[in-house]
Amino acid sequence: MSEDQTPENAGEQPEESLFEAPPMGEQERMVEAILFASAEPVTVKELAGRMPHGCDPAEALVHLRKRYEGRGVTLIKVGDAWAMRTAPDLGFLMQKETVETRKLSRAAVETLAIVAYHQPVTRAEIEEIRGVSVSRGTVDQLIELEWIRFGRRRMTPGRPVTFVVTQDFLDHFGLESARDLPGLKELRSAGLLESRPAPSLASDEDSEDGDEDENQSEMFDEA
């Protein structure tokens, strides 16, 4: 290797003549180790400064680059410096996706249930049925889950948007259609509804989902 050293160079750097530069294979190893351990990209000049005299890091880089071609790690040039990086196509390995399953909040479950049983339903109607206001986050969450979506606007003053359940919803809950949802009577007979008849009121709580006023008048009619 030292044969290609011109005498001029040797004259400039006296150490060169004292020791022969290591073989190119060794120089390649050195460049490899330096680039691996360095926290920042390293310039050729810096490499030369750190390697024994007479080394040719530029040439070593050419060899090294070839060696890493197609590997999981590649040699890249950053400005006038060099660095090792994982191959771009393997970037997915540097991501770890953890999937966390959480139970839907009670507010979300109830809102979802109301949309399912009463669709198309406006936000005001949901609030009326639940008796509490529905937070934006709850609706957004259900939309994000793609379990509810916007339906047609209601043709009433203010033209409020309505919500309906999606096909994803039906798929998730194993329903052919929202009409397959069990009615209150079935819920009760399945033991899902605690039987708490209101005192002195008629027994027909099971009246299907009409609106509240209707329910009440029905109750009185039967009294």
């Binding site: 351990a37 360095s38 926290a39 966390e100 399953t101 839907l104 605690e194």
Partner: protein, 251 residues
């Protein structure tokens, strides 16, 4: 104790603090014997140690208690080693005790040597290096929410169960309660000498709205039953679906 022992002890006396306990001191003293620790003369070592302690006392150096305990123990050991064994005496012989001390010294010495060997190994960050630019694994957390059909139905059932109580809590403005009807009728009944349709007792403003009318009718009817039970009024109805009439009952 010969002169050379004394000299060695004197050389060591410079700094007692330099020793890490009596065992360390003994190990250092043992080096003057220049023999394998397995061949060491524990008797000579005990004498060296005791001389060292004496010297330290002469110089009024403060000695930690464990140095003195060791001195006492070595004095005892020395006596056992020098005197012929007493068959009546129980416990280990002087030789056994000496052998154990030698073992302790050898073990400490070995651990020192190996500690040095360990530290002489190539070390991470000094001789070999880890990756300089690490690429952290980015952890993305995806949250999925689950709910079962059961959750859904239970949620709905919860709301509907709540609805049953709503007339009492929420919709009072459209419900004329029996208590209200009773109060109203008790005030009016004094004037009702003749048979009067109970519908005339409906409060003002409750006759037109069908919902309110139904509620007021029901509660007024219920209240009249209550008043009849109390014996305050009489009730009559001419025919099915005919108007129900009431009048004050005179006692």
């Amino acid at each position: 104790m010969d002169v050379s022992d004394r000299l060695a002890a004197e050389a060591l006396i410079v700094d007692v603090d330099g020793f890490e306990g009596p065992l360390d001191l003994l190990l250092t003293l043992s080096r003057t014997q220049k023999v394998d620790l397995r061949q060491i003369s524990v008797l000579a070592l005990a004498e060296q140690y005791l001389a060292f302690i004496d010297k330290a006392r002469d110089l009024r150096l403060e000695l930690a208690a464990d140095y003195l305990v060791m001195a006492a123990w070595l004095a005892f050991l020395k006596s056992r080693l020098l005197l012929p064994p007493d068959p009546s005496e129980e416990g280990p012989s002087g030789e056994e005790l000496a052998a154990h001390l030698a073992f302790q010294l050898e073990r400490l010495s070995a651990m020192r040597d190996h500690a040095a060997k360990l530290m002489a190994r190539d070390q991470l960050g000094r001789d070999f290096f880890a990756r300089g630019i690490t690429e952290d694994v980015t952890r993305t957390r995806r949250v999925t929410y689950t709910a079962t059909l059961l959750d859904l139905m239970q949620g709905y059932a919860r709301i509907r169960t709540k609805d049953e109580f709503r007339p009492f809590v929420m919709d009072r403005d459209r419900v004329f309660t029996m208590e209200e009807a009773l109060g109203r009728m008790r005030g009016l009944i004094g004037f009702a000498g003749e048979w009067t349709d109970i519908l005339s007792y409906l409060p003002e403003g409750w006759e037109m709205d069908p919902v309110k009318r139904r509620s007021a009718t029901a509660s007024t009817f219920a209240a009249s039953l209550e008043l009849a039970k109390e014996g305050k009024i009489e009730l009559r109805q001419g025919d099915v679906f005919a108007p129900i009439q009431i009048r004050k009952k005179d006692r």
